[in-house]
Symmetry: C2
Subunit: 205 residues, 2 copies
């Protein structure tokens, strides 16, 4: 088999196993078995197990960022831009569920240098959403909200779908995206103003 094809097979098998069993619980021998080769042969294609994980995460983040930028092209209305971005984010995460689940749960498997590289990409991606929200606030489309906190909240909420979504479940990707979209846009318009109130009760621990 040509190197490029086997390399892709290994990556695909690893993605599936990392998703189903987790990075640490997956042994190189498992990936080899799934790929139909011996474990030593894996190292001809990838330098290490971590290298394989990094490759998956890097590709995912790259594709996600490119996809969202494409999605936004030609859309000018501030609110519609955020709606489009949410749709894109949800669509990408639910369609490429395994990779995205890994990207959100297995960063721990990376050494500090690789970790920083992925976090840098993630930060840049988050900034796209933060800019969209800020623009919406400046234009008066949204209420004056905390951009950082709510951008994390919004992305997390949409991403979470990747952990429970089932392609043949009750709702399809578009339906789920629409539910999120309306919830988020309404939340950002803040029909409900802030309410002053006493602090929560003290907690042990």
């Amino acid at each position: 088999m040509p190197a490029t094809k086997m390399k892709a097979t290994i990556k695909s098998v690893a993605t599936d196993l990392f998703y189903r069993k987790g990075y640490y619980a997956t042994a190189i021998s498992d990936i080899a078995r799934g790929s139909g080769i011996q474990k030593a042969s894996i190292y001809y294609h990838y330098a290490s197990k971590e290298d394989l994980l990094f490759s998956i995460l890097e590709t995912t983040m790259d594709d996600l960022t490119v996809y969202i930028r494409e999605t936004l092209e030609g859309v000018s209305d501030v609110e519609e831009r955020l709606r489009v971005a949410i749709r894109g984010h949800v669509g990408f995460h639910l369609t490429r569920q395994k990779e995205n689940f890994i990207a959100n749960s297995e960063l721990r498997g990376l050494s500090s240098q690789n970790f920083r590289a992925i976090v840098r990409m993630r930060d840049a991606y988050e900034r796209i959403f933060q800019d969209l929200i800020r623009r919406g606030i400046d234009d008066g489309a949204f209420a004056v909200v905390d951009v950082k906190i709510l951008s994390y909240a919004i992305l997390t909420l949409c991403t979470a779908g990747a952990s429970w979504f089932k392609p043949d479940g009750r709702l399809n990707v578009d339906e789920i995206a629409l539910i999120y979209e309306n919830f988020i846009i309404s939340g950002l318009k803040q029909a409900e103003g802030a309410v002053l109130r006493p602090p929560v009760a003290a907690l042990s621990g």
Copy 2:
């Protein structure tokens, strides 16, 4: 040292290490070192590493459920009940950050029986929020939304705080809770209605 005290020390050290390094990356010897004993001595207090993880998760879920139920006592208005529950959820998660982070990232470390036990507790907890939302819809306080999807979204969004919150950061627990609370309640009232639109573009992968 009396058994109960050392047992608590071990649990506390393990919580800290599982939070900082992850369950798989933490060795029994690490926990022993942090507790000031030899690794073999750990097994006098806990049957296995998984037993220790399970103990942390069980206590956390128990305390969380009890806390939320207490928080809701005596509150009758539907909207205020959900607001109170959100405040409680956020407060608990940001105050007992480490345990909650583990509870949301290390379920993989459990064998199927223990896994099911924790998931059962989590499901029961989620049902509290689902009932609150459903009540709000029935009473006309909230729009007719998808309860399951949005309950997951709401809990995930609030829980996420446990992964980035810093006690001495820009905002304190109450401020963050209020931001979430207003965002969520506004989202559930849905000033913005559903918008029909074409499906998202096809995705590769």
